[in-house]
């Protein structure tokens, strides 16, 4: 996946089905043009903390439960880095657990969204997220 244009959306999601559904929705709304999908936390950290290219996406959609390095760990790394902590991170997860929500907010997450089981609602949630963070939200420069 080459990145000719600046990465807008970084999707970190280990479940390929969920990832496909998410990308499908974003595509429908023309929001997936500069999207990078990574399968786990390790890949994500390698991508974000690349010495050669500074990859600063407009928005990171982060799953929590992933093999090797989990979402919470990725979030902690991002939010404790002086340069990368300005990147908006939205946790997009199946977990409704209180401790995950609390822990994420403590680490400085910008939003926490529980993936609805029903596809209608899922589509709506992802679409709104993309629209909000890419079109409405004004990121720091």
């Amino acid at each position: 996946m080459t990145t000719s244009a600046a990465v807008e959306i970084l999707l970190i999601e280990d479940n390929p089905d969920d990832a496909e559904l998410t990308i499908r929705v974003l595509k429908k709304h023309n929001l997936a043009n500069n999207l990078v999908h990574l399968q786990d936390g390790e890949e994500a950290l390698r991508f974000l903390f690349n010495e050669e290219a500074s990859n600063i996406p407009k928005i990171i959609l982060l799953d929590l439960k992933m093999p090797k390095v989990d979402g919470i760990e990725v979030l902690r790394k991002i939010k404790s880095d002086p340069v990368r902590k300005v990147i908006p991170v939205v946790v997009l997860t199946s977990s409704k657990e209180e401790r995950d929500i609390v822990e994420s907010y403590k680490l400085g997450v910008n939003a926490y969204v529980v993936k609805p089981v029903e596809f209608d609602k899922f589509m709506e949630a992802v679409a709104q997220l993309g629209l909000f963070w890419l079109l409405l939200n004004e990121p720091p420069r």
Binding site: N15, D17, D18, L21, R24, L64, K65, T93, S94, S95, K96, E97, E98, K115, P116, V117, E118, F119, D120, F122
Partner: protein
């Protein structure tokens, strides 16, 4: 001085003492009286003696006088003077003896007069004799002399007689007095003895009772000691310096020390671990003034080096001046509880891990099933026949339903595990807000929804909100097929309990299934009729139970249902 005798013993002793005292007084008085009587008898005898002497003197003089007339012996004169002196002496004594008896005094006076007459006569006779025997013989015997002699004799007799009568009276009185004294004396002695015997029995009975009481006291104190030593908890006392002054067997057994190694030798602090030592130091001085501590958890070191967690409650024993004397502490062994707590914590962690993976891992595939089924329908639906479309719809519907089931089940599990928070909850605001929110989705229905004023309650705000949300949703759901929906929320007080009720005019249910109402996944209606997973009321039930309250329902088929609950004011 405090008297420890029983009242009746004391009374008996006093009576016996009084009897003995009066016996003494009575005897003393009797003997005093009888001395007087004896003296009187002696007196009488003396009187009689002197009267006798007088009489014999008179007789001797008479005889002497006759002899003198015949013989003319001149010694008569001295004899006569001697007799006369003696008679005068006896008369003087008699006078003194009978001075208190007027009758005798009078007789004595007449005797004196007669005596004088006699003396005068004797002198006449002696004068005549000095002239001639014949002259004397003419004078004696004579009627005059006989009269004098008779008179004298009569007086003497009278005196004798009177004294004898007196003597007899006195003797009789003395005998009478003696027998009366003997009777009284014996009676008093007897009653004194009887009372003393009774007192003895009373003392015996009292003593016996005391001995029995002491015995049972000893038994009870042994029982208490046994209880103290073998109770399923530890008891100990600390003195002001913190030394252990007493400790029961159970406690010693836990610690693994003998009594001799502990009592008076070790301070409580010596048995504690380092962090418990500071807890003890922070509390002991304060405890000595406040007088109690409760539920302090200490860790001790047993003799074999093992740890011993305990929970301690203690009160201070103070003297009359309010100074600390010793502590009285109860200790429970927390070893088992700590083990159970660790086990529970482990189980809770496992359960949490399980629900976490349920929450995450089960929902993801469901979303895929739903999502891809929808994509299939969206992208290929027009190419598929109606039956294929219907089957896809079934897949979608079931995936959603399972998603809802999982969500509800997780909610239910979360309510069981989550710590209750405590605050005052304003049901009025809560219920009215919920009514507004839920009615928002029922705009096309005609609903008469009345909320009466509701009392405040103490509990977990979010959980109680869940209760009302479920109850109100149910009321709206099960009354949705009525042309006019009526819902009423009330609050009543029964026997100090505040009972909240929600009544609807919906389909209700058959009371014979009421026991299934609050079970998880238990439903009394078909899914086609009313949507639902069967978790809502189970959740309500669990929340109310966790608040220590109770929920129940009354209903009839097609006649609506009323759900009522109460929450105790002091929930744990």
């Amino acid at each position: 001085m405090k008297v420890y005798f029983e009242r009746r013993i004391l009374l008996g002793c006093i009576v016996a003492f009084a009897i003995l005292a009066s016996l003494g007084i009575y005897t003393y008085r009797y003997f005093k009286e009888s001395t007087v009587t004896t003296r009187q008898v002696t007196h009488t005898n003396e009187v009689l003696y002197h009267v006798e002497q007088l009489y014999s003197a008179a007789l001797r003089l008479e005889v002497g006088l006759y002899q003198f007339i015949e013989t003319g012996d001149t010694s008569f004169a001295s004899f006569y003077r001697g007799e006369l002196r003696m008679a005068a002496e006896h008369t003087r004594i008699l006078g003194a003896l009978v001075h208190d008896n007027p009758a005798q005094l009078r007789t004595l006076d007449s005797m004196r007069m007669t005596g004088r007459k006699k003396v005068k006569f004797i002198q006449e006779v002696m004068l005549a004799r000095s002239q001639s025997v014949l002259a004397a013989r003419r004078l004696v015997p004579s009627a005059a002399n006989d009269a004098i002699t008779k008179e004298l004799t009569a007086a003497i007799m009278q005196m004798q007689q009177r004294e004898k009568v007196l003597l007899q009276h006195r003797t009789e009185a003395s005998v009478l007095g003696e027998s009366k004294f003997m009777r009284t004396f014996l009676l008093m002695q007897f009653s004194g003895a009887v009372i003393l015997v009774l007192v003895f029995y009373a003392i015996h009975a009292s003593f016996r009772r005391r001995v029995l009481a002491e015995q049972s006291l000893r038994e009870v104190s042994e029982e208490i000691r046994d209880l103290y030593n073998n109770a399923p908890c530890g008891y100990h006392s600390l003195n002001a310096e913190g030394y252990i002054s007493e400790m029961n067997n159970m406690w010693l057994q836990w610690l693994g020390y003998t009594r001799d190694e502990i009592v008076g030798k070790k301070r409580f602090i010596d048995l504690l671990t380092a962090e418990s030592k500071s807890l003890f130091e922070n509390n002991f001085e304060k405890f000595k003034t406040t007088g109690s501590v409760s539920n302090l958890e200490f860790n001790l070191v047993r003799k074999n080096g093992e740890g011993l967690p305990v929970i301690l409650n203690s009160t201070a024993v103070k003297n009359e001046q309010g100074d600390f004397v010793r502590s009285r502490s109860t200790v429970f062994n927390l070893t088992e509880r700590k083990k159970s707590e660790a086990k529970i914590m482990q189980l809770n962690n496992e359960l949490e891990a399980f629900t976490y993976s349920v929450s995450h891992d089960l929902r993801a595939p469901l979303r895929s099933i739903d999502g891809y089924a929808r994509i299939l329908k969206e992208d290929y639906g027009p190419k598929l026949d109606p039956e294929a479309n219907r089957v896809i719809d079934i897949v979608v519907r079931n995936a959603r339903r399972m998603g809802k089931l999982i969500d509800d089940l997780l909610d239910f599990s979360r309510v069981g595990r989550k710590e209750l928070s405590h605050s005052r909850v304003d049901f009025n605001t809560m219920v009215n807000n919920l009514r507004r929110e839920l009615m928002e989705q029922e705009k096309e229905r005609v609903i008469n929804f009345v909320v009466h004023p509701l009392a405040l309650v103490e509990g977990d705000n979010n959980m109680l909100r869940q209760v009302w949300e479920n109850l109100i949703s149910n009321a709206l759901k099960y009354s949705s097929k009525k042309p006019l929906t009526e819902i009423e929320i009330t609050c009543t007080t029964e026997e100090d309990k505040t009972i909240y009720s929600i009544r609807d005019n919906g389909v209700g249910f058959d009371m014979k299934y009421a026991n299934k109402l609050f079970g998880v996944f238990q439903r009394l209606h078909k899914v086609q009729d009313f949507e639902g997973t069967g978790v809502g009321l189970a959740l309500v039930h669990r929340i109310i139970s966790r608040h220590g309250g109770k929920i129940w329902a009354e209903a009839a088929v097609d006649a609506g249902a009323t759900f009522s609950f109460y929450i105790p004011s002091e929930t744990r």
